[in-house]
């Protein structure tokens, strides 16, 4: 660990001590270091529903490429409190630019600028990254919605090894040549800042070498003092400085202009991204749902109809980037690299887990029970001004085909065991 990191740790440490002090003073519930758990449950459950998120590979060296990819369903039941996603940007939630972003595609369309997204639409994003700053970093996909702010997806750890000094980010220019974004224009920028700054300090120094304030104020108060203070040397200096400025500006401008004959303004268009839609042979309706506060479980009753030709089994309920699975889900959809801390492998229970047969309609009691509800601060739902929940239910047939339904509904909290 070098001195720089040590110093940073000291600053973070003292901030941490202050935070801890405040936390103890106000007995606030612990907030995640990254803040993702501090977003309100309705914001995380009913806006962007993240699934199939992948961080690959999770270990890289400086300059290596990595990928952050996955899918996102924009909830139909978008909360009233959140501005509609008319201008959105797929972003990366990371502590500073630990990776540079090389490319970002949503449903195959590059997303350099912000664009609209549709409620009920499904979007697949692929973000290519290049490892830049060594360390152990928590990386989230993120949907930034203009007017609503960032909506963080699930976070996974990515490690970068090596040395930042080795990092380069070469880019090919249209008119030929390659440029490194880390250093491009730096020397010229420093030169001009030093040149103008130097002239500025010289100008101030010209007046600092002589009495500045009290003496001049006393002279100015006298008859004829103004004329006396108008030193001919200053007049000359004024003309010289004025001429110098205009000449340097003109030389700088015209030389630069001939140096860069082909320039373009900043590009500010909006990508038009066509959504896809979730495919499922099941139709689902939330009949009733309650939230068992002491039991830390979301219990729902769904009316499910199978319109397809093969029997289907429910295997996963996912909301706010947190996954609740049963045996079916584990067998079909377990990514061994998915962060264990946001996944409950035995978190989904059904009273009757027989498959839903083709043509069958039945009420299913689904129960997702895990301490994650509390740890991920989703139990704070009871403090929201709108008691509704949302999420994705995934089902599989015997040959492993996945069917996804987006569900949403009202939810009633159960505060005591007696009530439940």
């Amino acid at each position: 660990m070098n001195t720089k990191n040590l110093l940073k740790l000291c600053v973070i440490g003292s901030l941490g001590v202050a935070t801890l002090g405040l936390t103890l003073a106000f007995t606030a519930p612990p907030a995640a270091a990254h803040g993702e758990r501090s977003q309100e449950p309705f914001l995380r459950m009913r806006t962007a529903q993240w699934y199939d998120t992948r961080w690959s590979p999770s270990k890289t060296s400086v300059n290596d490429e990595a990928m952050l990819s996955g899918k996102m369903h924009i909830a139909e039941d978008w909360p009233r409190a959140v501005v509609r996603p008319n201008r959105t940007f797929i972003n990366v939630g990371s502590p500073s630019s630990v990776f540079t972003r090389l490319s970002s595609k949503v449903n195959g369309i590059p997303m350099f600028t912000s664009g609209p997204m549709e409620l009920g639409g499904d979007y697949e994003y692929v973000i290519r990254l290049r490892a830049r700053l060594p360390g152990h970093h928590h990386i989230h996909p993120m949907l930034a919605v203009n007017g609503a702010g960032p909506i963080a997806g699930p976070g996974g750890w990515m490690d970068i090894q090596g040395n930042y000094k080795d990092f380069t980010n070469p880019v090919k220019l249209l008119v030929g040549g390659t440029i490194d974004t880390e250093t491009a224009g730096l020397v010229a920028g420093l030169f001009w800042h030093i040149l103008w700054g130097g002239l500025g300090f010289l100008w101030i120094a010209w007046f600092m070498i002589r009495p500045m304030f009290l003496i001049r104020a006393r002279v100015l108060a006298q008859e004829g003092g103004d004329e006396l203070l108008t030193d001919p040397a200053d007049k000359v200096a004024g003309f010289v400085m004025l001429g110098t400025c205009f000449i340097i500006i003109a030389i700088g401008f015209f030389v630069t202009d001939s140096q860069y004959p082909y320039t373009v303004p900043l590009q500010a268009g909006a990508p038009l991204i066509k959504p896809t839609h979730l495919q499922s042979d099941l139709t689902m309706k939330v009949l009733a749902a309650d939230y068992d506060v002491p039991g830390r479980a979301l219990r729902m009753t769904l009316t499910v109809t199978n319109n397809g030709e093969v029997p289907l089994r429910i295997g996963e309920f996912t909301t706010a980037g947190i996954r609740f699975l049963n045996k079916v889900g584990v067998a079909n959809n377990l990514d061994p690299n998915y962060p264990a801390e946001i996944m409950a492998l035995d978190g989904l229970n059904m009273e009757d887990d027989s498959p839903i047969l083709p043509g069958e309609t039945k009420d299913i009691k689904l129960d997702s029970r895990d301490s994650l509800w509390e740890f991920q601060r989703l139990m704070d739902m009871v403090h929201d001004p709108e008691q509704r929940f949302g999420g994705l239910v995934m089902s599989w047939d015997d040959s492993g085909n996945r069917h996804i339904n987006s569900i949403a509904g009202a939810i009633i909290p159960v505060f005591t065991r007696a009530q439940g």
């Binding site: 590059p110 974004t181 250093t183 730096l186 009495p211």
Partner: protein
């Protein structure tokens, strides 16, 4: 022959040698730690609140808003500071002081906050420099000795010179490149490649083609508009300087009436005693005709 009139000025101040020495100490203590650091700290805060993002990010430096907003915000403090230094001391460095001070603050932020703490490369957060514009403004005041002419010509040049004087710093970032089949400027790409979690692309307030009537001359139209508003801002802030920089005395005259006197330098002098009959305790010993004659220069 001496380069400066310093000797005559010191003589006219009628300060004893110890007084002259002391006044230089006051200059040093007052100018650097108080005036300079006070200006750079407050102006830096003021500027970053009003135009910070345009100045930090390479991908905010557009032809419309950056060119318009920066001179308007950057002429405010110079207006007030120039009033103060010119009116009370005839010192023509108010604008240069404000803007070099701003840049001292900016560079502390760039090195410590952006580069060292947040790990952004320095070229990505390079600020604009308006020192050349400030020098032009100060020289205009020095040469015209009129704040009205300074507001008209100096401020006009202050704003109009912003783009040409910063073009050498930022032109490289306007070079085109193609990424994923889309044409971008290098600045756009840098804004994209350096991940800013809290600053998604739509936060940018930049030209989206709204000045389409003027074709390729957007930057000059913006600069012209900026110059116009800057003139207005300069005069307003000159008056702010006047309001904040008021110095007056409450004095009691011969008949015991309290009144306000705006010329603080006159209080305690013989001229004051002559005008008001008595300095009334303010300038002991300044009551006779003899001292009055001596005090007149």
């Amino acid at each position: 022959m001496a380069l400066f009139r310093t000797k005559e000025i010191i003589a006219a101040s009628k300060l004893p040698p110890e007084g002259v020495k002391l006044s230089r100490m006051i200059d040093a203590i007052y100018f650097l730690p108080i005036a300079y650091f006070g200006v750079f700290a407050t102006f830096h805060m003021h500027f970053d609140l009003l135009a910070g993002d345009w100045d930090f990010w390479i991908d905010w430096k557009d032809r419309q808003f950056w060119v318009t907003v920066t001179p308007i915000v950057e002429v405010m403090y110079p207006g007030a500071i120039m009033y103060y230094f010119w009116t009370f001391y005839r010192q023509p460095f108010g604008a240069t002081l404000s803007i070099t001070g701003l840049l001292v603050g900016k560079w502390i932020t760039i090195i410590l906050a952006w580069y060292w703490w947040a790990n952004f490369p320095m070229n990505f957060v390079m600020p604009a420099s308006m020192v050349s514009s400030a020098l032009i403004l100060d020289c205009t005041l020095l040469l015209t000795r009129s704040w009205m002419l300074t507001a008209i010509f100096g401020v006009w040049a202050f704003a109009m010179m912003f783009n040409p004087s910063n073009y050498p710093i930022f032109a490289y970032s306007k070079q085109p490149l193609v990424a994923d089949g889309a044409l971008l400027s290098l600045a756009d790409y840098m804004g994209f490649t350096y991940v800013r979690t809290g600053t998604p692309e739509y936060i940018r307030i930049i030209e989206v083609g709204s000045l389409r009537t003027f074709g390729g001359h957007t930057v000059w139209i913006s600069a012209f508009f900026s110059a116009f508003i800057s003139m207005l801002m300069f005069t307003i802030w000159w008056q702010v300087g006047h309001f904040v920089g008021q110095s007056f005395f409450w004095a009691t005259g011969k008949r015991g009436v309290k009144y306000r006197t705006n010329d603080v330098m006159i209080v305690g002098t013989d001229e004051y005693a002559q005008r008001h009959g008595t300095p009334n305790g303010i300038a002991p010993g300044a009551s006779g005709r003899a001292t009055l004659a001596e005090g007149k220069s």
